[in-house]
């Protein structure tokens, strides 16, 4: 159980294109019924001070996300990380991921349940 608290997902939402790969990779991995989602992609349209709209997506790891222990135990990436088309999700020890956040903007660090 302690392992779970140490690991997380670093999401580079500058590059998330909203392709929903993570969501379906997760559904396939766990053969989820359609209502149960492990990671959920959210679309946001912001209006910037210059009046220009700005489109972003961010994958939200839900209460169902367990960071794929059966995969990571084997040295594999979590299903969403493996398939992400924009390669914008990274899995690793939270402390390491936090350090990466000092080097680039538009990142979100998730520590799922």
């Amino acid at each position: 159980m302690s392992e779970r608290t140490k690991y997380g997902l670093l999401i580079d939402y500058e590059y998330c294109t909203g392709c929903f790969t993570c969501q379906i990779a997760c559904a396939q991995e766990y053969r989820r019924p359609k209502e149960i989602v492990g990671i959920h992609v959210i679309e946001m349209v912001q209006i910037l001070p210059n009046g220009k709209p700005y489109l972003s997506f961010i994958p939200f790891p839900t209460e169902n996300c367990s960071l794929c222990p059966s995969r990571t135990r084997k040295g594999l990436e979590p299903a969403c990380v493996k398939h992400c088309m924009a390669k914008c999700i990274k899995h690793g020890p939270i402390e390491d991921l936090a350090k990466e956040m000092t080097k680039k903007a538009r990142l979100a660090l998730w520590a799922p349940r």
Partner: protein, 816 residues
């Protein structure tokens, strides 16, 4: 997943399944003959381990309870939805008898072979049509308006097609020392990450952005790219041609041309007669001169000199051709004619597009056009990648010519990180594709003379080997010049997807004597067939793929019910129709296609299923026009008539069409139809992709439908407010052709003057039989788009820029 009997196999995605143009390497997990999971193959250079949502949902597709798993014979009236399961033997026998009878009574050309977008159907439907003896293979979109028109236009200019260079010809991709990341990428009318169209993996562009490429996004919608672009040009749909001319204007007038390239590789120096307005040719000057040789003014000797197109050289030594000027030449009949250079005429045309005028046409501010043109022209290298909006306008060819001139004049053609000439891997070509021909051929040119539209449209005799779709529809009703009696419809859904004016297609299909549909699920279109055959997904078939690289095999791993791969269905019937059919097995056929690679199907499979052509092969970049790798004679230059980049097209001149790039206002816009626009004030654009659907497919896949449950119209908050429309409510979209319903997504992603309406919607959960046809009339936006407005060369159609009005659905329409 820890299971004991799971075996992992490699294969390639192409078509049925994810539905797209494919090419991804995958690892399929198979347990006791059943697919349990799919993953991206990390060792495959195309997708490098990644995979899209549609491919990852494949288990729900392959084992969907509604999949067609047996051949079906219609037992009620057409459209009544009454079917009887029959055996393959019975199906093949029945089809053979009915189709042979039609061939005997009306000729083979009276049978149309209809396909959808370019997938792993094209070669096999051509094989079947040609074995039957019909030249009428039809890509079922009005104006053939997807990809082939762009290819044809670019071939007109430069003799070969080209695409963005994302290092896809190099096994180590971006890491290869031969590769250069583009400094600037123009994403022109394209939301690539959502669709992977045209044989490009959309996220390559994101890879390149991370490596520093700046983006210019040209899109009326705020796409993801537009949000992250250095320059976003929000143009009015259909005005791409004017914008490209504006770019050319900046590049030429601000000294941003690659002059060395213009001097050496284009036909800029060739002379145009002022009296006829046509290219001056050697046979204008001397008796017995060649019609395909051109004339320049030699400034060294102050007289004309002949450009020998076959030799790709001047007939005399040390010619110094004039780039600009007006010259007087002696003709063979003793008269004299004035002549000007192509460059002067080209610049004169470009100068008709000062930025003020371009801004007025496109609605893009002058400064933004100029800044973007400079950013592109100064990027070394820079590349342009464009989408289907270029095809989906009747003036596709002059628009695409203008854009092709951009990469040529900036020296970005076939350079690392530029627009790289795209040949099929190892030159292994299966069938007649735009600009090329493969091993699957019609038996004679004589048969091809009956191809519908071939007598009318130049490009259909030079580059595109299909029947012209709008004319086919017309001919089904007119029977002129010959009757149409049957249709073979394969992986194609004209009623629910690709057909414009789809009610007219229903009428047309019902007029036919015999209709076969081949598909994986019932669709609105299969309802109108006499026989429906169950096809296979990519996991259930062997196949080959050479579009563009790598050369790949598709490997049969599982079977489902009695489903058969398209290639096997068509192969069996082709053998029955053609006593001289060349091949014994499908593997013989694959071997014939793969022959230029020196490998057989089995050998390529054993190599791991893919191979890249090696350096020095004509299908491998770069700088091939300099190295003599493009032309059959091995001379430097291009495969055009003159051997040069034709800024002024000799082919278009031959076809009686404007040879220079230019802009034409589309037929249904507020500018061209001010009266209609009073009643229908909004620009109706369609075709925006959803990443979880491929055109009209996948609405029946639970994981995917959950993400995108309803057909959407995107409408700007101000426009919505003025009509009292709130987010999430059903609205009518209407014009003079019809109306249908969509759920409002109120969003500033679209401009106030345009709505974006999704295409391809029908409801597999509804009743299939008529009149509902899976509720296809509820939200099929193609009802608001006409047939018969193809461009002057038979290509392009007004699909991205119609007119409409939008209003709330009254109480009676709110049920769904």
């Amino acid at each position: 997943m820890s299971r004991k009997n799971v075996e992992i196999f490699r294969t390639t995605t192409w078509s049925a399944g994810p539905g797209c143009h494919g090419g991804c390497g995958v690892l399929a997990y198979v347990e006791d003959g059943r697919l349990v999971k799919i993953e991206g193959d990390p060792e495959h250079p195309w997708n490098q381990g990644r995979l899209c949502s549609r491919a990852l949902a494949i288990t729900q597709y392959v084992y969907h309870p509604n999949r067609l798993t047996h051949p079906l014979k219609r037992v009620g009236g057409r459209g009544e939805g009454k079917w009887e399961e029959i055996s393959w033997d019975e199906a093949f026998n029945l089809i053979e008898i009915r189709m042979k009878k039609i061939r005997q009574d009306h000729g083979p050309e009276s049978f149309i072979f209809a396909m959808g977008t370019g997938r792993d159907i094209g070669p096999w439907i051509c094989m079947l049509a040609y074995a039957y003896g019909s030249p009428n293979v039809m890509f079922s979109l009005s104006g053939i308006a997807c990809y082939s028109p762009r290819i044809s236009a670019v071939d007109t200019v430069q003799g070969d097609y080209c695409v963005i260079d994302a290092g896809q010809w190099l096994a180590d991709r971006y890491e290869s020392p031969k590769y250069k990341t583009p400094e600037c990428i123009v994403v022109w009318g394209y939301n690539i990450p959502a669709s992977c169209p045209d044989n490009i993996f959309g996220h390559w562009i994101i890879d390149l952005m991370k490596r520093g490429a700046k983006i210019i996004a040209i899109d009326p919608r705020l796409s993801w790219f537009a949000s992250r672009a250095t320059k976003w040009l929000r143009l009015r749909p259909g005005t791409d041609g004017a914008l490209a001319m504006g770019f050319l204007n900046v590049i030429i007038n601000e000294g941003l041309c690659d002059e060395g390239f213009v001097e050496k590789w284009t036909n800029a120096h060739h002379l145009i007669r002022s009296d006829t307005g046509k290219l001056l040719r050697q046979n204008d000057l001397v008796d017995g001169g060649s019609q395909s040789n051109f004339v320049v003014w030699d400034t060294e000797n102050e007289k004309p000199a002949i450009w020998d197109s076959d030799e790709v050289a001047y007939k005399s030594p040390n010619v110094k051709p004039a780039l600009k000027g007006n010259f007087e030449v002696d003709l063979k009949d003793g008269t004299r004619a004035q002549a000007r250079t192509v460059w002067d005429l080209f610049c004169e045309e470009v100068n008709k597009y000062p930025l003020g005028r371009v801004a007025e046409i496109t609605l893009v501010p002058e400064k933004d056009i100029r800044d973007a043109a400079i950013l592109y022209a100064k990027g070394k290298p820079a590349s342009i990648h464009w989408g289907v909006p270029i095809d989906m306008t009747p003036a596709v060819t002059p628009t695409a010519q203008a854009i092709a001139c951009l990469w040529c004049l900036t020296g970005n053609l076939d350079v690392p990180g530029g627009n790289v000439i795209s040949r099929y891997a190892f030159d292994a070509v299966a069938y007649a594709l735009p600009g090329t021909k493969g091993v699957i051929k019609l038996k004679s040119k004589e048969v091809d003379k009956k191809r519908i539209g071939a007598d009318r449209y130049g490009p259909l005799n030079k580059f595109i080997w299909r029947a012209q779709t709008d004319l086919v529809l017309e001919q089904i009703f007119s029977g002129d010049p010959y009757p149409i009696k049957g249709m073979w419809i394969q992986a194609c859904n004209p009623i629910g997807g690709i057909g414009m004016d789809p009610k007219r297609w229903v009428e047309a299909i019902k007029k036919l004597e015999f209709v076969v549909a081949v598909d994986l699920f019932h669709t609105p279109t299969t309802q109108l067939a006499d026989i429906v055959l169950p096809a296979a997904t990519f996991l259930e078939k062997d196949g080959v793929r050479s579009w563009w690289v790598p050369l790949q095999t598709i490997n049969k791993l599982i079977t489902v019910g009695e489903c058969k791969p398209d290639v096997e269905i068509n192969f069996e019937l082709a053998k029955r129709f053609d006593p001289d059919f060349k091949w014994e097995t499908i593997h013989d056929l694959f071997d014939a296609i793969l022959k230029p690679s020196g490998m057989t199907f089995r050998q390529l499979q054993e190599k791991g299923g893919w191979a890249m052509p090696t350096e020095g092969h004509p299908s491998t970049p770069y700088h091939r026009f300099e190295r003599g790798l493009l032309r059959k004679d091995g001379k430097p230059g291009f495969q055009t008539l003159s051997g040069k980049i034709e800024l002024y097209s000799s082919l278009r001149e031959e076809w009686g069409l404007e040879p220079l790039p230019h802009y034409e206002e589309p037929p249904f816009t507020p500018i061209s139809q001010p009266e209609l626009a009073k009643e229908y004030p909004l620009i109706l654009s369609t075709g925006r992709r959803s990443p979880v659907y491929f055109h009209s497919e996948h609405r029946n896949i639970p994981w995917l439908r959950q993400i995108h449950p309803h057909p959407l119209i995107e409408i700007h908050p101000k426009t919505a407010r003025s009509s009292g429309i709130t987010n999430g409510e059903w609205v009518w979209v209407e014009n003079w052709l019809g109306r249908c319903r969509f759920k409002a997504k109120v969003t500033p992603l679209v401009p106030e003057w345009m709505v974006m309406v999704e295409h391809g919607w029908w409801f597999p959960e509804s009743e299939g039989a008529e009149p509902t046809l899976f509720d296809v009339w509820k939200s099929n936006v193609n009802q608001l788009i006409p047939m018969g407005h193809q461009g002057k060369d038979g290509l392009g159609a007004p699909i991205k820029h119609m007119l409409c009005k939008v209003y709330k659905v009254s109480a009676e329409g709110c049920q769904s």
